[in-house]
Symmetry: C2
Subunit: 95 residues, 2 copies
């Protein structure tokens, strides 16, 4: 089991655009093999920080996700509405 924290920093007036795209990404991703959780959250102190909080059964499942049609189509569209590059970190449970 691994977790992913993928931070997206939206341009000020593009939060809605990101959410619209992320909605389709979430709908399709939760149906993938090995996807335990895939949800979007917003920083309560910084509304332009939209974070995908993910949980995958294996790193292989995560890699497969990044080669799906919907990922390769939607993520570059989302990138157009970001003010800087997304920060993606992968974690394994230690406690």
């Amino acid at each position: 089991m691994i977790k992913v924290v993928a931070k997206n920093f939206a341009k000020e007036n593009k939060i809605d655009k990101i959410l619209e795209l992320a909605k389709e990404l979430v709908e399709k991703t939760v149906k993938e093999v090995g996807c335990v959780k895939y949800e979007m959250y917003q920083n309560t102190n910084e509304p332009t920080e939209l974070v995908m909080l993910e949980e995958w059964e294996t790193e292989e499942d995560l890699n497969k996700h990044m080669s799906t049609e919907h990922f390769k189509r939607i993520v570059p569209q989302m990138a157009e509405y970001l003010r800087k590059k997304a920060e993606i970190n992968i974690y394994k449970k230690v406690i």
Copy 2:
């Protein structure tokens, strides 16, 4: 329901010290009212990044957590083994 991502950046040779302290913090915190999840993860690309991934029923429950005896005792002890200040962000679900 809110989520918290609390990043701790351990000094190179102090990872074990952090984990030892975090173990007690987790054991006590999961018994608190409103604590849905409270687990420690390690960045797979940067082992000194130890992240508490938390889920709380309400922001009030989180605030109460930060005033418990175990939080006020253990967190400052952990801080001695960090190479920089912890980064704490609070999130609400949007999708």
